[in-house]
Amino acid sequence: MFKIVRKEELAEDIKLMEIDAPLIAKKAKPGQFIIFRSHDKGERIPLTIADFDRKRGTITIVFQEVGKTTEELGTFDEGDSILDFVGPLGKPSDHDRKEEGKVICIAGGVGTAVIFTELRNIKEHGNYTITIQGSRCKSLLFWTDRMKHFSDEYIITTDDGSLGIKGFVSQPLEDILKKQAESIAYILAIGPVPMMAACVKVAKNYNVKAYVSLNTIMVDGTGMCGSCRITVGDKSMFACVDGPEFDGWYVDWKELAQRNNRYLPAEKQSLERYRELVKGKNR
């Protein structure tokens, strides 16, 4: 059992939990993830290691409540325990993060939590960091201070214009690349699939390398099932062991979007049933 030592509400439907998991904390590297299962009827769900504290022996996860499992996890409190918590999984993404020059980190929505340790790592390796953090509206933004702290330049966008530039993250990206594409070593874009696809398209137009982190549907997370497979270039890759970070230029975005929708009716049914069951309780 893995104890929740801290819980925080970061934004509407976005929650943070710090979990007591000393073995994983000892090993965690930027870009890696864990898989949890909250109880014995639960699903195995991947979440990025949003932060780790080797001394305290904790792992921080940040999740958006999008379906049954994440919504239910949101009802767990400090002091409660999660049944299974395994990791760190996936390839760490720090190998090519030596000093390379200017790097643009783009975070969409809850992708902020996913990108954070990488941004910090990139900055700590002596790179010049330009961060673009976007969300639908102001109330969904979180960790802006942390992100700013590790950014030499920092830009916010909101779809509705409630804070920063009105529009999508791809706009300021295009503006920057238009002026100085040659000086950018690479971009790293993490967020919803359409957002990553749009950023990659812009970067590719300017011949800039673009890394992305793919949130495919997983089961085991160890390369055993192939649920997470995705076409990159002319190869079928397993996101859990070959990734989750990939060269965005070669990702088959259409396939990814389609594959991520494959259980939609079941997920809807599961969420509705769950809400029915808890009606009159906490919510």
Partner: protein
Amino acid sequence: MAKVDPKKHPMPEQDPEERIKNFNEVALGYDVETAIAEAKRCLLCKKPVCIDGCPVEIDIPGFLLKIAEGDFKASIDILKDTNSLPAICGRVCPQETQCEELCVLGKKFEPVAIGRLERFAADYEQENLEITYPKCSAPKNKKIAIVGCGPAGLTCAGDLAKMGYDVTIFEALHDTGGVLRYGIPEFRLPNSIIDAEVDYVKKLGVIIEVNQVIGHSISIDELFEQGYEAIFLGTGAGLPKFSKIPGENLIGVYSANEFLTRNNLMRGYLFPEYDTPIWVGNRVAVIGAGNVAMDSARTSKRLGAKEVHIVYRRSEKEMPARIEEIHHAMEEGIIFDLLTNPVQYIGDENGWVKEAELIKMRLGELDSSGRRRPIPIEGSNYIASFDTVVVALGTSPNPLILKDAKVETTRWGTVVINEETGMTSRPGIFAGGDVVTGAATVIEAMGAARIASRGIHKYLSEK
């Protein structure tokens, strides 16, 4: 020779019409009278050749005689002397090519139903007797790490615990059993049986740590640093093979591992009570004809598919699945498209598979596996509509752990060992089961684990 009944006593089974609507066990097991009568068919040979067919060398006439005498406790004690998982082996061993193939009765009649009787004794103990545990040797105060909680890991752990070692199993998944749990469905091997036999191994003093992916959570080198003096790799062959034909990433195309894991380990068939969904359409094609393919086909049927096809490139004779399971699949209405191979899968505008292009095959010369090579018949291509495809073309060892362990591997990705000791190229690291042989059988994995446990004991005694 006294008169011997020429036939095995038939196994009572759930009716096919009924059982395709549930996940309960198909074979129901012998009752006491049938078991005694079947056991009495054994000739109690002076030179019991049947034992040569059993990789863990069970004293077969010994346990059969005890059943014939009605002394079931003595019978199970003999079984457990060499096999800590008899209820499992009795159910899933391919007896027809192992112990029963060699039984002398089989020359003229049907062999003794050794597997069914092994299952009977184990079930009888679970249901009616107090379970007793063998005495372990005096503690040796030496720690051994076992990686993987499948049949190989469990067997090696049980053996070493009995010898007095401190044994810890590290398992990547959240539950025990390996393929027994995530691959083989409830209707062939109920979870309660696995639980009981894993519990037996735990009672021998073995500690099981789940959620530990060795190589990620802890490395092999760290295990040595933590004072483990020997390590056994029983990590199986979990990496699914695809045939790399167009359309394999369409939605509705599963690897058998994903399909069966969702259903068995995650209990997809109980969705939405359990949270993990599994999807099956009306027309299913299962590619391959091994046990994994039969299990996938029969699972599809139970999940509500109307028409399920086994698509296999060779003929009936070459099908690698157990005869009993092929027979069960046929009874359940599975359609066999033999001498047929997929060329590509075709999707609709939303990325769902809707058709498969197939080609007819004929058999040519013998190949290196001793089977006749399948050759495509040019121009015989045709299109068939399928909304679900399960690819069951075999598996190979997961390279991650092997890289971390820095042990020598073959070009097929399996681990190289010394056949006599089970030791790998790296001193102190041993291996056995599917990780060495590639996908094989439960009992072969257990036999290899037994060899390795002796190898480990010898290594540590001489160290």
